[in-house]
């Protein structure tokens, strides 16, 4: 693309955005900033779920379309544990563990036998997502399950500048998302297992030839990715509540996050999650019946100019 067109498209995209921000702040400052915070906290949840998705995809070239079902599973498990024991931290651990175990079982029992057949693996995950969603519906019914936030995070945070008050729990999601992102980045870039995973992304066969047990690396990655979905489910059960159909919503969010951000990249997932979360909440606040159109337009724009996503690399 020539420099002119880059500038042209830059101006076409940036100017309306700046105009909207200026108008939004001038029109209703409080609404604007609350929406911004809502967007960022939603992005945090999206990031936690989608980073697991992108991790699995990056290593195994397997689009795990059962990722949304794992999110739902983690959410329900977290709800039940929190109901029984009353400890939210325990619920988080349980949601992560159960989803990770189910993911591990999927890896060991099914995907190991169809390595390299990525399309078939994808179809299997579609089948699994149908089955898991229906079993969960069977077991827990179609009623809304909502975990209550832990006591020290319940209620609003008062006396803030600009927006006066905001939910403590939601605002806690921001540092949580950042911490998880940083931990994931450190894990991938500073540890031995992370090094193996990155090596596996680049060249699976070579990694195996170097004497690494690739199956173990695959299983670990899949478990972590699935666990992150379950972890996100527990968090989402407080913020968004759990009900059949949420799995599809989070699957769509994960898909768009990784398509926009770039597949197989954790930083890309963060960028994609922020763009999607903010766009979605602003859409809902300012143009409720067309909010999904904004998401779609972002998807189209990114695919048109960067088919591999904003931070994606050529395969």
């Amino acid at each position: 693309m020539s420099r002119f067109w880059k500038w042209f498209w830059g101006v076409v995209i940036v100017v309306p955005l700046v105009a909207f921000v200026a108008w939004g702040v001038w029109d209703n400052t409080k609404l604007f900033f609350i929406t911004l915070l809502n967007g960022l906290t939603l992005a945090s949840l999206y990031f936690i779920v989608a980073s697991g998705f992108t991790l699995v995809f990056g290593l195994m070239r397997n689009v795990n379309l059962a990722h949304g079902s794992l999110y739902l599973l983690g959410g329900y498990v977290g709800f039940l544990v929190a109901e029984k024991t009353g400890y939210f931290t325990l619920a988080l651990a349980a949601g992560f563990l159960v989803a990770a175990l189910v993911g591990l079982a999927m890896q060991v029992a099914i995907f190991r036998f169809m390595q390299g057949q990525d399309l078939r693996q994808t179809m299997v995950t579609i089948g699994l997502s149908i089955v898991i969603a229906d079993v969960l519906l069977w077991a827990l019914g179609a009623t809304v399950h909502q975990t209550s936030a832990p006591e020290w995070l319940a209620g609003p945070l008062r006396d803030l500048p600009l927006i006066t008050a905001y939910s403590k729990y939601r605002i806690a999601l921001l540092p949580l998302g950042i911490v998880i992102g940083v931990l994931l980045w450190l894990f991938l870039n500073r540890t031995r297992v992370g090094m193996m995973i990155r090596a596996g992304v680049d060249d699976r066969a070579m990694l195996a030839a170097a004497g690494v047990n690739v199956n173990l690396v695959f299983a670990t990655t899949f478990a972590i990715g699935a666990g992150l979905a379950g972890f996100g489910g527990v968090i989402g059960a407080v913020e968004l509540s759990m009900v059949p159909g949420e799995d599809v919503r989070l699957l769509l969010a994960s898909l768009i996050v990784v398509i926009v951000g770039g597949m197989g990249s954790v930083v890309g997932a963060a960028v994609g999650a922020i763009i999607l979360g903010v766009a979605e909440t602003y859409g809902l606040a300012y143009a409720p019946t067309y909010s999904v159109v904004f998401t779609f337009v972002i998807l189209v724009l990114v695919l048109a100019f960067r088919p591999r996503g904003i931070l994606g690399q050529a395969a």
């Binding site: 070239r61 397997n62 689009v63 379309l65 099914i110 057949q117 990525d118 399309l119 078939r120 994808t122 179809m123 299997v124 579609i126 089948g127 699994l128 149908i130 089955v131 969603a133 229906d134 079993v135 519906l137 069977w138 599809v248 699957l251 769509l252 898909l255 768009i256 990784v258 398509i259 597949m263 409720p288 019946t289 067309y290 909010s291 999904v292 159109v293 998401t295 779609f296 998807l299 189209v300 695919l303 048109a304 088919p307 591999r308």
Partner: protein, 376 residues
């Protein structure tokens, strides 16, 4: 198709300076009437007894079956099969598994409801055009949408296509759900009925069955024909090795978009039939479960055969209609999910692949075996 035929067809395509994009295939070069006669004779020779039996059975079926079986099983299978056929064409022969085919069908259905007539409550949105205007416009809009979705998804390959088309499909579902000014939100449109033309009420089970049968046969033979044209051959070449086809001077992107548009026409016709079959359209008709169901139907029958789409549709509709008598009505998704899993796990080429495997097992005793490909 034999290797010689394939090479021949490839050369025909290459002789044309630029492979023509679009549905219509360039005429096969060569000497006129004699070749045409030979082609007809060869086509006639290809007809086997089983083809005649199946066709006769399809025509006679509504006269022996009850109206319920004609309409619920027969017509629904044909309409769903037509939508699944578009996926078979794209996935099995173009190498693009598009999950947006139900979305394309849904767009056609919505357009019929919006441009044509729906129930009185919706007239604020419905424009009330006559059917001969509304239906072609609906199909045209849906085809354009299919080409656009194709344009989006061909920029990437393989599993990326699944992700993008799924995202597009689900996004369209949420748009229908949230938007009231055009798509009438959660309610959608009721009483979108087939028109009365030539004094025949096409909503009548018998008439509607023959309407669905006609368009399904037309779609089936269209795909069969298209696959033998230079365009179809080039498309299969692109499926197998896009880089090589690109090096040979074929415009890979243009072929893929054209294939998406051609599949879009099929899906759109299927969508119009489906909306007339159901008599209504709403977000539920284009939701994830139906997006996935079309994939299930295509995979169930076998994605490497056009007839597989209809076979899968019949099995799916039979399961949907009668499995609920055996088990709980609510658990249909579990049944279909398990069936789908079993097929994907154990017979990647669907029921037809299963049949071929059985046949080759029996034939092996006499020294023959047929190698089969899986889902590509």
């Amino acid at each position: 198709m034999s290797a010689a035929e394939w090479r021949n067809a490839m050369n025909t395509g290459a002789a044309v300076p630029r492979p023509r994009r679009g549905v219509s295939a360039p005429p096969v070069s060569g000497g006129g009437a004699e070749i045409g006669e030979r082609r007809i004779r060869r086509a006639l020779e290809a007809i086997r007894l089983r083809h005649v039996i199946v066709l006769a059975a399809l025509v006679v079926y509504p006269w022996v079956a009850t109206p319920f079986l004609t309409f619920q099983i027969g017509a629904q299978s044909l309409a769903l099969g037509l939508v699944a056929l578009s996926l078979t064409f794209l996935g099995g022969y173009g190498g693009m598994i598009s999950l947006a085919q139900m979305t394309v069908a849904g767009i056609a259905g919505y357009m019929v409801a919006i441009f044509g007539a729906a129930s009185a409550a919706d007239t604020a949105i419905s424009l009330g055009w006559p059917w001969w205007l509304a239906v072609p416009v609906a199909i045209a809009v849906a085809t354009l949408a299919a080409a656009f979705i194709g344009w989006l998804s061909v920029r990437t390959e393989g599993i990326y296509t699944i992700m993008i088309t799924l995202a597009v499909g689900v996004a369209f579902y949420y748009l229908c759900l949230q938007n009231y000014s055009v798509f009438n939100g959660f309610q959608g449109f009721q009483r979108v009925n087939a028109p009365v033309v030539f004094g025949i009420n096409w909503r009548d089970p018998l008439a509607f069955y023959y309407l669905a049968l006609f368009w399904s046969l037309a779609g089936y033979f269209f795909v069969k024909y298209l696959l033998r044209t230079p365009f179809g051959i080039a498309l299969q070449g692109i499926r197998d090795n896009p880089r090589r086809m690109n090096a040979l001077g074929f415009n890979v992107t243009a072929h893929r978009i054209a294939a998406s548009a051609a599949a879009g026409v099929l899906a759109a016709i299927g969508g119009v039939l489906l909306v007339w079959y159901n008599g209504l359209i709403g977000p539920g008709s284009v939701g994830t479960s139906w997006i996935i169901n079309i994939l299930i139907i295509a995979v169930l029958g076998g994605m490497n055969h056009p007839i597989g789409a209809f076979l899968g549709a019949i099995v799916f509709v039979l399961l949907q209609t009668f499995a609920i008598d055996v088990i709980d009505r609510e658990r249909f998704n579990l049944v279909i999910g398990v069936v789908f899993l079993a097929i994907v796990l154990f017979s990647p080429d669907g029921l037809l692949g299963l049949w071929a495997a059985l046949k080759s097992r029996f034939a092996r005793s006499s020294g023959f075996s047929t190698p089969r490909g899986g889902i590509r």
